[in-house]
């Protein structure tokens, strides 16, 4: 990795092309989860790579390269969210694929489960972006408290309580929706 970072810092464009291959897909889904819009996610990924290209010499290697890039992507998404007039944006999908169907589940059970999955998906995007970020980072991306704290510039205690509150909000919304 050190050699790779040196190549990037020396402006080796072959290294950049490899970086794009390594990260573009992961970053696209990361931004999509935060933003709920594929067009905005594409913009965010392009802006992120532009910032990485221009800022790699400021990367001090105090965190890993992945964490540094994700932090740039997160901040880029945040800028997009701040500019939005309508906070509640989410991509429509004809089919939200989630859990694997239980073996032996009836067609009726399966339909009910799919409906509940769609409700949960929509409720994630009915959360405020400040709550949604915790759901995305912890529950959808599976990041550690330390990485989330680093990304959001918060202390661990604030991160843990933020995650807990966001989950409570999400559960409340799901309950209201299902009523």
């Amino acid at each position: 990795m050190d050699k790779f970072i040196s190549e990037l810092k020396n402006g080796d464009n072959e290294a950049y092309l490899r970086l794009i291959e390594m990260y573009s897909r992961r970053l696209y889904y990361f931004c999509l989860k935060l933003l709920g819009s594929s067009a905005d996610a594409e913009d965010a990924v392009q802006t992120t790579f532009f910032k990485v290209y221009n800022g790699i010499n400021r990367f001090e290697e105090r965190s890993g390269l992945t964490t540094w890039i994700y932090k740039i992507a997160y901040n880029t998404c945040n800028d997009i969210l701040r500019k939005r007039k309508n906070e509640y944006v989410f991509e429509k999908s004809d089919d939200i694929y989630l859990t694997v169907a239980d073996e032996g589940a009836s067609v009726e059970d399966e339909v009910v489960r799919r409906e509940r999955e769609k409700i949960v998906y929509e409720c994630i995007y009915r959360l405020s972006s400040s709550h949604r970020r915790f759901i995305v980072l912890r529950d959808l991306e599976g990041l550690s408290y330390a990485k989330i704290a680093d990304m959001l510039d918060l202390n661990m205690g604030t991160v843990k309580s933020g995650i807990s509150r966001a989950r409570e909000k999400l559960l409340k919304l799901v309950r209201e929706y299902e009523r």
Partner: protein, 85 residues
């Protein structure tokens, strides 16, 4: 300060570690004991357990834009041209 509410917060904030068995035994036992008496926390633990299984799988639900990687590579090549002038 309401001690019960404080412990409710503690329990909810540590649900991941509790469920993965990552807490010290003493802490884990405190939460288990609390769940027996606190209806609200019991409900939260049960509902959140169900909710986690209903989270979307974005990679399966949304396709990855095929031309995105090409666009990104093209912009690097353009930047290379600009910076080499």
């Amino acid at each position: 300060m309401n001690l019960k509410n404080t412990f409710c917060e503690y329990a909810k904030e540590n649900i991941d570690e509790y469920e993965k068995g990552e807490l010290l035994r003493k802490e884990s036992e405190k939460i288990a004991k609390h769940l027996k008496i606190c209806v609200e926390c019991r409900r939260f633990f049960k509902e959140f357990g169900n909710l986690k299984n209903l989270y979307p799988d974005f990679e399966k639900s949304f396709s990855y834009p095929q031309n995105l990687e090409e666009k990104l590579k093209k912009s690097v090549k353009e930047l290379e041209k600009i910076t080499s002038v």
